[in-house]
Subunit: 304 residues, 2 copies
Amino acid sequence: MLNRLEMLRIFCTAAEARNFKEAAQQLGISPQVVTRAIQELESQFGELLFHRNTRQCRVTREGERLAHIARQGVEGIDCLFRRAEANAAQQVEGTVRLTAPEAIGQTSLVHSLARLRQQYPGLHFELHLEDDETDVVDEQIDIGIRHGLIRDSRFVARQVAEVPFFMVAAPALLARCGVPRTLKDLQQQPVVGTIDQRTGKPWPWFFRQESQWIPQELAFISNSTQAECAAVLAGFGFAQMPGFVAIPHLRSGDLVEVLPELAPTPWALSVYRPQRSPVPARVRVVYDCLVSDFSNAAFFPLLP
Amino acid sequence: MLNRLEMLRIFCTAAEARNFKEAAQQLGISPQVVTRAIQELESQFGELLFHRNTRQCRVTREGERLAHIARQGVEGIDCLFRRAEANAAQQVEGTVRLTAPEAIGQTSLVHSLARLRQQYPGLHFELHLEDDETDVVDEQIDIGIRHGLIRDSRFVARQVAEVPFFMVAAPALLARCGVPRTLKDLQQQPVVGTIDQRTGKPWPWFFRQESQWIPQELAFISNSTQAECAAVLAGFGFAQMPGFVAIPHLRSGDLVEVLPELAPTPWALSVYRPQRSPVPARVRVVYDCLVSDFSNAAFFPLLP
DNA sequence: TTTTGAATTCCCAAAACAGGAATAAGCTAC
DNA sequence: GTAGCTTATTCCTGTTTTGGGAATTCAAAA
């Protein structure tokens, strides 16, 4: 018998049972195994653990002392594996780590998570808001939401919506500078943008037929789409922004779309998670919920 | 891998090592085993414990949490078995339970134990003083000293001395009643005795050629040889007592022997212990010491 | 691009194990 | 006392588990 944990478990049971046979029955093993386990323990401890003859067994005092300590040890390990069973039994609890673009993470995502939390009070969330892709495996992320293609084959990605881009400006700015009629018109105007963290350059603007333009002189540049949006609202200049940032302001009239005919093909919005073989229940539940919520057009009514 | 303890041990090591290979080297096993143990744990917990690819391994946060708890559990069990090793390495410490006749336990035995205690400060003693044989196995005794034959085959007995019986009386009593010349004389005199716990009757007196006499009318009877001795010293009557009770008083003159020619064959004094297969070092040390001390004639100078 | 080194999978010999049958030895009831 | 019953133990054998060599895969480094 090499399995120390089982030896101790057998010993603890035997110490409480009236005899080895009873202990064996409780453990669902044969009495021979009990005998051997106890013998092995006795030889390891150099100490008699049971007074026994062919007829009866009584634990010695040293045995009782050992049983007392051993019970704690065995219980400690068992308790650990009981959690495992609870986990395997698909209990939804623990921390789920998510990453999402700022504008989504600060609004609709939080509502989805809040509902999940009501349903599963054991859930905790950790939210990393980044507009650029981050190394999800290294960052130990369970679920991500990203605007744009997910190329990485380590991920299971699910496209849930198509989010268009809008070129927008504040009404005050338009009143001052006039409404641009062509791309050229637009490129003469002050422009607001964001930084691509990976390259350090401004994000390009995208137009129909896959054409791009990287603005060179920006009136305002930031690493935050929310700041960018605030700048546009303040009349700093024109900007291109994804629907989930622009739509609320277009609806309220705080922003106005320009040159809609140049708008590029919408980009996919994807919910994704790393391809890890055992998917904990808590992750699956959140993933499914987000896929369902973000597939719901109500979150991204594509136009008024 | 069925051995949960080893699985956890491997996991804890891997969680601290830089990679599986290193963990395997530390544990003296092959990397395959590490892989398997971790996979098994992951499937049991339904939880990825390491982010890994063919090139690198990093523990997940859930893994770190588990490792933290698991370390305690594994350490708990290991600590238990470290004691076992200390025991096996023949450390002399712990409690030794002894039984002995009252008169021996209150005097010379205590001195032997005191010397042992000086030599092995980790030793503790538990002393059961009983003049009659007790069921040593049930009483969980490690070592016994007994005056008389040890018949029980469950014991390893070692005869260390021969202790004679003396018929004695106080000088004052002799002055009052005269010195008996024959057994008949003696049987007319007041007598002091002890009770045989097993039968409830007085202990017989023993004489040469195996003859016995059970005194019927006793001036004083007790279950304690020390009390019996005190009664004799106080002049209650005559008594027969073993050397280890009588000799000090014969030496000091507080008692006088009568009818020495009737004295029976001396009885053996034996040190014995239950036949338990692993004999803990502490028991062996004490046993050897007692055998040696009580074999030493200085403790029982058979006559002045 | 090639090279390198770690994780993993596959496979099989060796070790460990479990339990049936036989044995020994108390208790109990006659 | 003795027969019968029960339990611990030992021996033995078929089965399971295990560990590591060889081959494979794959990401990082060169």
